[in-house]
């Protein structure tokens, strides 16, 4: 059984509205995180990466929408439109759609007059996206906390291997809202400066927003230069705590081992790890334990949270796409914000963006509910 590939991809973010532009910025170590003073969201200034509403509006108008869409729908539609257009794929009943989001149109719960409260249901958001492009089959919405974005890739692969679909489009997105910021603030998890994953001086996360999308397919005529093959993937629960990471990194360790087993590779075959690295004290510490147990302490590793913040249900897909470009460019991107190792087990943090020939990368994510996902990708040579 040959594996599906990741192909056409797009990122809608504060760093740009297509993957290449965004990756150029990341390569130049430009952060999309800025201090925002918006009392409607939080009484004090906070670091975040948000889309400029005017830029979003202007880009979205070009799609000539026939009705009103929410902010998140606009982001997702823009992202998906780009790759559907580029792939020239006809949307038959053999083409699936997976939507990855933790909170969807949650801002509808605040008094908004333009949309009914029904729009807060994730199924309503999914229906809008289905109808806009005229997908034949109903979308599959995945909402599995902060691992959703990478888990969506895993699910697309499985449904293609199960012959449910020939191709699957994934779109992932989450927004910066008062709902989310107030919640993480109540957890005392927000950093008052740009986040510093794995650093001794890290104090917490920044929340950001993006939409990202990718085409998953087995058709080798539909590949792009940065395409990768999905070698293996797994999701294992910590079975330990609903909001605190496991002290032994159990779920993440098991996910990585299971993904490596399926990929039929050793730890030393992995050239690069795109880790989760939220910059909360407990999460980063847990990751160091899990990677150390998996024999990955020396593998070059970064967290991309210093560029985008934590973009929740979109982060796993966003970071997978950046990883694809990282392999294609033979370039390892700096783990922005890192100064001095502040976890108990050694990690090989990428300090500066550097050239390196790479073939295989590991993407990991961990989230509330004890969820963890690992996926392994290999560069293809066209």
């Amino acid at each position: 059984m040959n594996n599906p590939f990741l192909s056409y991809n797009n990122i809608i973010s504060s760093l740009g509205f297509d993957s290449k532009t965004v990756v150029e910025k990341v390569s130049a170590e430009v952060s999309g995180l800025n201090s925002v003073d918006d009392k409607d969201i939080l009484p004090r200034p906070f670091y975040t990466s948000m889309l400029d509403p005017m830029v979003l509006e202007k880009a979205f108008e070009k799609l000539i929408p026939k009705k009103k869409y929410t902010r998140l729908e606009k982001m997702m539609l823009l992202s998906l439109h780009q790759i559907i257009k580029d792939s020239k794929l006809e949307l038959t009943e053999r083409v699936g759609l997976i939507i990855s989001t933790t909170k969807g149109n949650i801002d509808i719960l605040e008094s908004q007059e333009m949309f009914t409260k029904e729009r807060a249901y994730l199924g309503a958001l999914a229906q809008e996206i289905k109808e806009f492009f005229n997908f034949k089959d109903d979308p599959i919405v995945l909402s599995n906390a902060c691992v959703s974005g990478v888990m969506a890739v895993s699910i697309a692969k499985r449904l293609i291997n199960e012959k449910k679909y020939d191709h699957v489009f994934i779109v992932a997105g989450d927004m910066v809202t008062k709902f989310i910021i107030s919640g993480f603030n109540a957890f005392q998890a927000l950093s008052d400066e740009r986040c510093r994953p794995y650093c001794k001086t890290r104090t917490g996360i920044n929340i950001g927003e993006v939409a990202a999308s990718v085409l998953v397919t087995k058709n080798t005529n539909l590949l792009v230069d940065e395409s990768v093959e999905i070698l293996g993937d797994a999701s294992c629960n910590d079975a330990n705590h609903i909001s605190g990471p496991s002290r032994t990194g159990e779920g993440l360790y098991r996910s990585v081992m299971s993904a490596m087993k399926e990929a039929n590779i050793e730890a030393t075959d992995i050239d690069y790890i795109s880790a989760h690295g939220t910059a909360t004290p407990y999460n980063d510490e847990m990751e160091s334990i899990a990677f150390s147990r998996a024999g990955l302490a020396e593998t070059p590793l970064n967290s991309l949270k210093g560029y985008f913040g934590h973009t929740l249900g979109a982060s796993g897909l966003l970071e997978t796409i950046i990883g694809m470009h990282s392999l294609h460019r033979n370039q390892l991107f700096a783990s922005l914000g890192f100064q001095e190792l502040g976890v108990s087990h050694p990690l090989n943090i990428i300090r500066k963006t550097t050239p390196k020939n790479s073939n295989i990368f590991l993407k990991t994510a961990s989230g509330f509910g004890g969820s963890n996902t690992a996926a392994i990708f290999r560069k293809i040579y066209k």
Partner: protein, 206 residues
């Protein structure tokens, strides 16, 4: 690739009653959900103090899984690598609304981590995983209505690829005064065939 799996047992929670394989195990007349689920917890001698910290979605999913896994016919070996695949319509909106209420008014602002953590639908999978020590595959999907086709495809995929030895699967939805749970276990042996028609038939069983 093989698709010859079976449904071992199934559990319903709806209309103030809990049933296993179509047989009612517990019912309580004319109470609200909170009183009902607490009585169910007591009736089944659950003895798990963390239950009382859970939100309504987690409480319901937890009781349904407990009834199914304590009374079902699956073996210990099978349950060691049991995936959990759940779905619903309202995601975590029942608790989302509660968190939103706590932040609506600047003069009455009281967001709480204990509430916020439940504003994700997959937290109930975390609760089930902790209770039954399941370090397994877990996913939460949202559909407008019960989707036997997707649950069937995805369970087959997990079993066919040896990602799981059995799958705890189903629907858990709580939305204002409406609630419904339907969980079942898919494995290599059992009493009911594992196909879309049978899943739908069991789902619709009173």
């Amino acid at each position: 690739m093989k698709n010859d799996y079976f449904i071992q047992d199934y559990c319903h929670i709806k209309d103030n009653s809990v049933s296993l394989n179509g047989t009612q195990l517990f019912t309580q007349e004319s109470t609200d959900f909170n009183a009902f689920i607490k009585s169910a917890y007591q009736h089944f001698n659950t003895d798990y103090p963390k239950f009382f910290k859970m939100d309504r979605l987690s409480k319901m999913a937890f009781i349904a899984a407990d009834v199914l896994l304590k009374n079902g016919q699956h073996s210990i070996e099978e349950s060691q690598n049991m995936a959990v695949v759940l779905s619903n319509r309202a995601s975590s909106l029942d608790t989302d609304r509660k968190h939103q209420e706590s932040i609506n008014d600047q003069d009455n602002y009281y967001p709480s981590p204990a509430v916020f953590v439940y504003t994700l639908p997959n937290i109930c999978i975390g609760e089930i995983s902790i209770r039954h020590k399941l370090h397994s595959e877990n996913s939460f999907f949202i559909f407008d209505q019960f989707n036997a086709d997707h649950l069937w495809h995805y369970s087959n995929s997990l079993l066919n690829t040896y990602k799981a030895d059995s799958v705890l699967c189903g629907w858990v939805d709580v939305d204002q005064d409406k609630y419904e749970a339907f969980l079942y276990v898919v494995s290599s042996k059992g009493s009911y065939e594992h196909n879309k028609e049978e899943i739908t038939r069991l789902y619709l069983t009173k």
